[in-house]
Amino acid sequence: MVGEAQVRQEVEAVYRRDSRRILATLIRLLGDFDLAEEAMHDAFFIAVQRWQRDGIPDNPRAWLVSVGRFKAIDALRRSARFDRSQADLIMLLEREADDPGEQTLLADDRLRLIFTCCHPALASDAQVPLTLREVCDLTTEQIARAFLQSPATIAQRIVRAKAKIRDAKIPYQVPELSELPERLESVLRVIYLVFNEGYSASAGEDVTTRELTDEAIRLGRLVAQLLPDAEVHGLLALMLLQASRQRARSTADGELVLLDEQDRSLWDRGQIDEGSQLVQQALRSRDFGPYTVQAAIAAVHAEAPCAEATDWDEIIGLYDVLQRHWPSAVVELNRAAALARRDGAQVGLQAVEAILQRGELGDYHLAHAARAELHRQLGNLDQARDAWQQALTLTRQGPERRHIERRLRELG
C-alpha cells in the first residue's frame, strides 16, 4: 500500500511531465484525437487507485499508455457505433500491445504529433491553436486570450481540424525525407507564429505574452532535439536572441522601449550565449535558411555593448544575403533602416520610399514609422507628422499606439 497523498502527488507529477507524450503515443495507436484524450484521462484516473494498491510502477509512462490503450479497446467495444472497422482497430491494438519495437517509436510520437498538427492540408488559422492545444496542453481559453478570439472560435477551428485529420486520413507520421523540407517549413512557421504572437501581440495591451514565447521556445527545443536540422537550430537561436531582450523592451508600466534605448544590462546573457552558439553551429552547416540569417542579425545586435557600437556593415551584409535568397519587402525595409544608421537618414529614406512607391508595405505601420523617424531626423517635421499619423491608423496594439502618440507630441 502507498499513501493516497503520495500517489496523488506522483500522478500529478507524471501528468505534468509526461501527459503530452502519453497523449501523442495514444493518438498514434488509436488514430483518433478525442478517443486518445479520453483514454489518457481514464488511465490517469485509474492510476490514482491502482498505484495505492499495487505501488507506483517502474515506468509510469508505459503503464499509463498500456492502461489507456485497454480502456480505449473497452470503449470501442461498448460503443454503439461498433462496426467492422473498429473490430479491425481492436485487433490491431491488441496485437501491437506485444510489439517489442514499440519502445523505439515512443520518443518520436511528439514529433509525429507536431507534424500532424502543422500539416499544410489543415487550415492555416487552425494549425497554431491545434498545436498549442495538443502539443503544449494550453487550454482553449488560454489560446483564445492570447489571440484575442472567442474561445468558441478557437474551439471550432480545433474541432474542424481534428475532423479533417480523421476524415481525410491525414497520417500520423514524420514525413519522408523527400517531403521533409516543405513539411518542416510549415512546422517552423507555426512555432515562429506562436513566438511572434507572444513577443509582439498583434493587438491588445501586453507588449509580450510570456506564456506563448516560452511555449514556442520549448517547441523549438523539442524539434531540435528530435530533428537536429540547421534551420531548426536557426529558428531556436532567433527566438532565444529575441526573447533575451524581453525584460528590456518594455517599461514597468508596459510602455514600449525601442532597441536603441534599451538598458542592455537587462538582456538575458544566458539566452544570448545559447542563441549565438546555435547560430554559429547552423551557419557552419552551410545548409541553413532564412531563420538562421535573421538569428545571425539578432546576434550582431546582441553582441554590441551599446547601440552606437553596432556593426552595421555586418548587419547590412546579412540583409543582403536574406534579400538575395529569400527576398521580401519587409526584409528590404529592415535593410533600409540599417542603411540609414550606416549611411545617414537621407540614404535610408530613399530606400524606404522606393519600397512604398512600388506599392508595397503601404498598410504596414512600421514602414510609415520608419519614414516618420527618418523625416524627423532630416528636419522635415510636416512629413514626419503625416507619416506618424498614417502609422497610427494602421496599428491596433496599445503600447505601440501610445509610442506613436508620444512621438507625435514630441514633434509639437
Partner: protein, 114 residues
C-alpha cells in the same frame, strides 16, 4: 482510403501554356500510377461546352446546357486512387502533369452506409 483527385484548369489555357502537358505525358503518368497498384480510374474530360447539367425536382427532370457552376476554372479530368492516407494521395496529385497549369482538389471518398 479512396481519394478522388479533381483536376481543375482554365480550359482556355490548359493546352496553350509553355508548361502545358501533352497527352502522351498524361498517359505515361496514369500508367505509372496504374503500375503502382493505386489506380482505380482516371479520365480526361471534353471541354465544358459539351456539358449538360441534370436536375430532378419534384420528380421532374430539367436539363440545362453547360456546367453546374460557371467558374474561371473548369473540371478537366480526374483520378480515382486508392491510397494509404492523405500524404500518399497528395503525392499522386503532385505528379499529375496538369497540376503545373491548373490545380488538383483531393477529396476522400465517403463510403455510403448501407
Amino acid at each position: 482510403m479512396k481519394y478522388l483527385c479533381l483536376v481543375y484548369c482554365d480550359e482556355a489555357l490548359l493546352h496553350s501554356l509553355p508548361d502545358s502537358p501533352e497527352d502522351a505525358e498524361c498517359m505515361a503518368y496514369a500508367e505509372s500510377i496504374q503500375g503502382s497498384g493505386r489506380m482505380l480510374a482516371a479520365e480526361a474530360l471534353k471541354p465544358v461546352q459539351t456539358a449538360t447539367t441534370v436536375r430532378v425536382r419534384a420528380g421532374r427532370m430539367s436539363l440545362t446546357d453547360g456546367p453546374f457552376a460557371e467558374t474561371k476554372e473548369q473540371l478537366a479530368g480526374f483520378y480515382l486512387v486508392d491510397a494509404r492516407d492523405l500524404n500518399e494521395a497528395l503525392n499522386i496529385a503532385k505528379g499529375i502533369p496538369a497540376a503545373r497549369v491548373g490545380s488538383v482538389e483531393v477529396r476522400p471518398v465517403r463510403e455510403l452506409q448501407p
